[in-house]
Symmetry: C2
Subunit: 400 residues, 2 copies
């Protein structure tokens, strides 16, 4: 209600409340004494702030305080904890062929998930939106959450998105993805929707709960069907002017690369090429359905020469890409993510070996454990970031 111009006394309470809330997000149930030590506030103030936050619904007080940690002298301390059910956030992965929605609580715990295919690749925008909306409602319903309790939504799409969440339709193709989701979900449900590029979300996701946990300078390469990357420098996502940062189209110019197909796609193609010849290889048993990357990796592990050659070729290509990107960006770590990543661990050794050819200071290389949920995990993180930054400006639907 009250407009804050620059610095009113109310600003102080905001700062204090923010500090307390930050501490609570990082801890389980805490006593006021702990709050006070963590924030530097006085006891009187700390209690006042907690009461404030409780009244607004962001935290709750526990009953049987003494139940914690056995014997304690003195007057029992009150205990407070984050009300992780004060509201929910949605993380969306909107692909070409399907939409996936994850419902998460305020601690980032995934409570429910729903996925729906689009009838065809080229359906009109309203239809895409309808499917997405329906998927979201199903996911919410599955956890018994009302649409009013959604505090933020983040959707990942396979197009460049600038740092304001806008899709610049410079290339016609991307128009497909800018289906007006933001406006549609705001109008229909009153939700705040953040748009972000899928590879960027993968980077956020993996830095949160993947191989890059806590690393400040990291590049995550979404590498299954096509290459795309999310780059984080100093803990901040890079976007560039039109959200195009992290595009790996420059690969066309790197010697020995020349296209932007991902690991899964290349493995499939190269295996097919090999089978067209007369070589002897165990891959031939999959020939009918087409050979997938996993099968190539397995065959290579069994000593199949053709599979090993393909693996080596993949590793060299990855090394070139990682070498080029990390020379210019200088990350501490490069993570390979996406559906193929889980089985791509076998590539790490060969990649490291090839990498020494392309850079004198190679980064660490890892595969993400998040599999194909890497984008939704990142979307949840992105939505939570928004909520955490704006907590004190948000009104909760049903302050219980």
């Amino acid at each position: 209600m009250t407009e804050i111009s620059v610095a009113t006394p109310q600003l102080l309470r905001r700062v204090s409340a923010g500090a307390v809330l930050d501490f609570m997000r990082a801890s389980e149930a805490v006593t006021v004494t702990e709050v006070l030590e963590a924030t530097g506030l006085t006891r009187a103030t700390a209690i006042a702030v907690c009461e404030d936050l409780m009244q607004r619904g962001w935290i709750r007080e526990l009953e049987n305080q003494r139940a914690f940690g056995g014997y304690q002298k003195g007057r029992p301390a009150r205990r407070f904890e984050l009300n992780e059910r004060a509201g929910y956030v949605l993380g969306m992965d909107v692909g070409v062929s399907k939409a996936t929605v994850v419902v998460s609580d305020l601690r980032g715990k995934a409570l429910g998930r729903s996925s729906q295919p689009f009838a065809e690749a080229d359906i009109p925008a309203e239809e895409r939106i309808a499917v997405i909306d329906r998927t979201a409602m199903m996911a919410l319903h599955s956890v018994g959450a009302s649409p009013d309790s959604v505090l933020a939504v983040c959707a990942g799409i396979a197009a460049p998105v600038d740092r304001n969440g806008e899709v610049l339709v410079t290339q016609h193709f991307w128009g497909l993805f800018d289906v007006g989701l933001k406006a549609a979900l705001r109008d229909r449900r009153g939700w705040t929707v953040l748009l972000e590029n899928d590879a960027n979300l993968a980077a956020l996701g993996d830095r949160w709960r993947g191989a890059a946990a806590g690393v400040d300078d990291v590049v995550v390469i979404l590498a299954s069907e096509r290459f795309g990357s999310g780059m984080i420098d100093g803990g901040r996502l890079l976007h560039g002017r039109g959200g195009g940062a992290g595009e790996l189209a420059f690969l066309d110019m790197v010697e020995g690369v020349g296209d932007t197909y991902g690991i899964a796609a290349l493995a499939r193609t190269w295996a097919a090429d090999a089978l067209a010849g007369k070589v002897k290889t165990s891959l031939r048993e999959f020939a009918a359905e087409g050979v997938e990357a996993e099968q190539v990796f397995a065959a290579a592990a069994d000593g199949d020469a053709v599979a090993r050659a393909i693996l080596e070729r993949l590793a060299d290509r990855m090394a070139r890409i990682i070498g080029a990107v990390s020379t210019i960006i200088n990350p501490e770590l490069v993570v390979i993510g996406g559906a193929v990543a889980k089985s791509a661990g076998v590539l790490l050794g060969p990649i490291a070996r090839h990498l020494t050819k392309y850079t004198v200071t190679p980064p660490r290389v890892a595969v993400s454990p998040l599999g194909d949920s890497i984008v939704t995990v990142g979307a949840v993180r992105c939505a939570l970031d928004y909520v955490e930054k704006n907590t004190l400006d948000l009104e909760l639907a049903v302050p219980d």
Copy 2:
């Protein structure tokens, strides 16, 4: 003196004072009424803050207020303005063969400059420091400023520097540059020294007072003898883990490039190569002293075929580099900077032409007007950034 824990009432005054100071830095002499409109504070508060700042020496009050803007009704307004002489900052360009120091006031006006060569490239650290210190003292003396009035120093060096101003001596070569300048100048003079990579400072400099003024996503390529770049995304410099972001060593992998020599170096070499043959060219008249880039550009403008070929080749190479970097970083603008930049304007047309081969969404390309002072300009900006961020924690030497 007083430790601020989280949110004390004193914090409010800090916020208010910061807002007022920011406004004053962006304006000339201002009345309290203007302050009040800009910051949203009350008149009473605005005056109190101004008096505060004046007492601390950061701003001053003008005498003949009414002298401004002719006729005015009502009680004359007091006028305040930034005291740009409250202290000074030093911007340093520490190269291999010489050190340059610029003294600037708090509005970024260069007041004096001094430059001194190092006796040899490989002199010991103490000697390098002594030369740098002496150069700084000379520059200060030339403007009549005392060493005590220096609020911050920023030094640009040709080595990777991480975002904490540390030089990681991963490669032995860089050890040359980490001569302990920070500690030495702190101990001798009590100065706060910020270290930064020279190309990064070039980026800051050009974004401040060059071709990239106000552009949030920009890459500045220092291109004279060697290529190095400073990359800014969303107004923030990229560093990477060890300060290596912006290194263009990956050029080794880009087809048609293959080394990291800069424009001046390449022009010189290619011209010499051409002269070794029997072609007819007006460049031959410079053959004795060696042909410089400027001369090649001039001859090309006169229609000399050999010079034009070299120019075209340079443009193609620049286009490849710009194409590769900007595909992955997606800047709005790429600036060519350094001593050679002033005459490199002739390259812009050809570069733009070649660029379409390497990217579908080419950035704007420009040359920096800052010449070889681009690094010191950036160093001054960097030091000012520090002072502006920490103004209220700094004590002025002689509060007049």
